[in-house]
């Protein structure tokens, strides 16, 4: 069994490395005690869920089982938890108010998207990636990040952004979702048993930026100091 895992891992090192890289920010969050901040606590929860889902997807992929249902679930979890971080960071009360209803709306929309993207939902091998939810998720996350950057500039509360942990988290989110926004609509057509549209090398971009976002999360968490947490 271990041989199969190793064989599958070496078959596509870049794609499978994303599973291992997730361990880095998890370890740093725990090591730097960044979980004292509710934002990073939420990030830690997301990373742990992501790791579990990634490991399950890796296992399914090793045994040639369609794992796209897990990917669809990860889209919902990813948006809900990552957008939840802004709930603690936004200063505008109106923005704080709309984050939770939008997350609920996104869950409903994604569920509907899963339903319409999978006409044969009971058949596991026929599962496909959602058509619109990933694009909507990318749009919303880019919007939240840009609004947060705007608030950050206006408030002038952080003297040095390079040592501000959430700046790196937001940078990671912005870069990751910018890479995802144009590729995600094509994923539904490319990730099928009978490929209708092969995106080819473009799927590498997603894996690369999946690693980059984890590195930026790690960097943000590394500059986090539990001692000075109250100041931020």
């Amino acid at each position: 069994m271990l041989d199969k895992y190793l064989l599958f891992f070496t078959h596509d090192i870049l794609a499978n490395s994303t599973v291992i890289v997730t361990l880095l920010p998890i370890f740093i969050i725990i090591y730097r005690k960044a979980y004292v901040d509710p934002t990073f606590r939420l990030l830690l929860i997301y990373l742990i869920i992501k790791l579990v889902l990634d490991v399950m997807m890796f296992h399914f992929a090793t045994f040639r089982i369609n794992n796209l249902m897990l990917y669809n679930i990860s889209v919902v979890v990813r948006y809900t938890l990552l957008s939840g971080m802004f709930l603690y960071k936004f200063e505008n009360p109106l923005l704080k108010k709309i984050i939770i209803p939008l997350s609920i709306a996104f869950i409903i929309f994604s569920s509907w998207d899963i339903w319409i993207s999978n006409p044969n939902i009971a058949h596991i091998n026929e599962h496909r990636i959602v058509k619109y939810a990933t694009t909507l998720e990318a749009l919303l996350m880019i919007l939240w990040t840009l609004i947060y950057f705007y608030e950050l500039i206006r408030s002038l509360k952080i003297p040095s952004l390079l040592t501000f942990p959430f700046f790196w988290v937001c940078s990671g989110l912005l870069v990751y979702y910018s890479s995802l926004i144009f590729i995600s609509p094509a994923l539904n057509y490319s990730m099928r048993w009978e490929t209708m549209f092969a995106i080819g090398y473009l799927d590498r971009v997603l894996y690369m930026f999946d690693i980059i976002i984890m590195l930026l999360f790690s960097l943000g968490t590394w500059v986090f100091s539990a001692r000075f947490y109250a100041r931020h």
């Binding site: 500039i153 002038l156 952004l161 700046f167 940078s171 912005l174 870069v175 995106i199 473009l202």
Partner: protein
């Protein structure tokens, strides 16, 4: 097949454009924030300097006003009182045959004029510390303490750090003297103390003043939080702000309070001659 290839290129170009935008936004936020902080810092520095200048001007005006009052007292009232005293002496000599009652009135009038002259002289000296200008901080503090001890039962001691303290410029000397005056007066008025110790120390970089009493003491944090800071303490802080000095209040070992003042000495001021502080010199007015 060609359509798929075109689609791939379109996606790639779109993704690259989005990534460029993302990196541009991140770089913009970093640089813009840095620039705004630099501007804010500059602005706050200007405001701080302006505030310091205003304080300096206010204190300078106060000192000038003191000089003017002292000069008026000395030149006008002092002269008139001297003339009154002279006239009374002449009258005393002129009136040869007078009864006991008239003699008593004359003596009383003379003594009142004498006393008033002394009072005016004391007030004038209090308004402008001439000893400070002539002999420096040590002598001025000795004189102030000596005068206070005359009318009070409390014991006031003064320890200058060295035998002869070098002159450090009128501005610093006057500030230290006024702060010392305020702290000692505060201790007498509010601390209910029986002993006050004044220590003055100086090195090449700093001039330090310590005023300690054995009174009831006070908590400066509570006073600040409850906005109970009086004009005296605010005046001390204002004088120190102009000279980049600091004040630290603490509880003394004997139960009272201690105020420690530290003022950096500008080497340029130290090397130059102190500007004379003449009590009765009017400011030159250019018309």
């Amino acid at each position: 097949m060609q359509d798929i290839e075109q689609m791939r290129w379109a996606i790639l170009i779109g993704t690259l454009a989005m990534l460029m935008m993302a990196f541009f936004v991140i770089a913009f936020v970093l640089f813009y924030q840095k620039r705004r902080f630099a501007e804010e810092k500059k602005l706050s520095e200007i405001e701080k300097n302006h505030g310091r200048l205003l304080l300096d001007t206010a204190l300078h005006s106060e000192e000038n006003e003191r000089r003017r009052i002292a000069q008026d007292l000395h030149d006008d009232i002092g002269t008139m009182l001297s003339l009154t005293k002279l006239s009374l002496n002449q009258l005393n000599k002129a009136m040869t045959d007078r009864d006991e009652k008239e003699e008593l009135f004359m003596k009383k009038a003379q003594s009142l004029v004498e006393e008033t002259i002394l009072h005016v002289r004391r007030i004038t000296r209090e308004l402008v510390p001439t000893t400070l200008e002539r002999f420096g901080l040590t002598e001025a503090i000795y004189e102030f303490i000596h005068k206070l001890a005359e009318g009070n039962t409390l014991s006031i001691s003064f320890q200058p750090g060295t035998e002869e303290l070098p002159r450090v410029g009128q501005k610093i000397e006057l500030a230290v003297y006024r702060i010392m005056q305020e702290l000692v007066n505060n201790a007498i008025k509010h601390a209910n103390c029986t002993k006050i110790d004044v220590i003055l120390e100086m090195n090449n970089q700093f001039i330090g003043l310590q005023v300690a009493d054995n009174g009831i003491g006070f908590d400066p944090v509570t006073i600040k939080e409850q906005h109970l800071t009086g004009l005296g303490l605010l005046g001390i802080e204002s004088r120190l702000a102009i000279l980049h000095g600091t004040v630290q209040y603490s509880k003394s070992g004997n139960g009272g309070s201690t105020a420690k003042i530290l003022i950096p000495i500008d080497t340029e001021i130290l090397s130059g001659k102190p500007e004379p502080l003449h009590p009765f010199r009017r400011e030159r007015v250019n018309i």
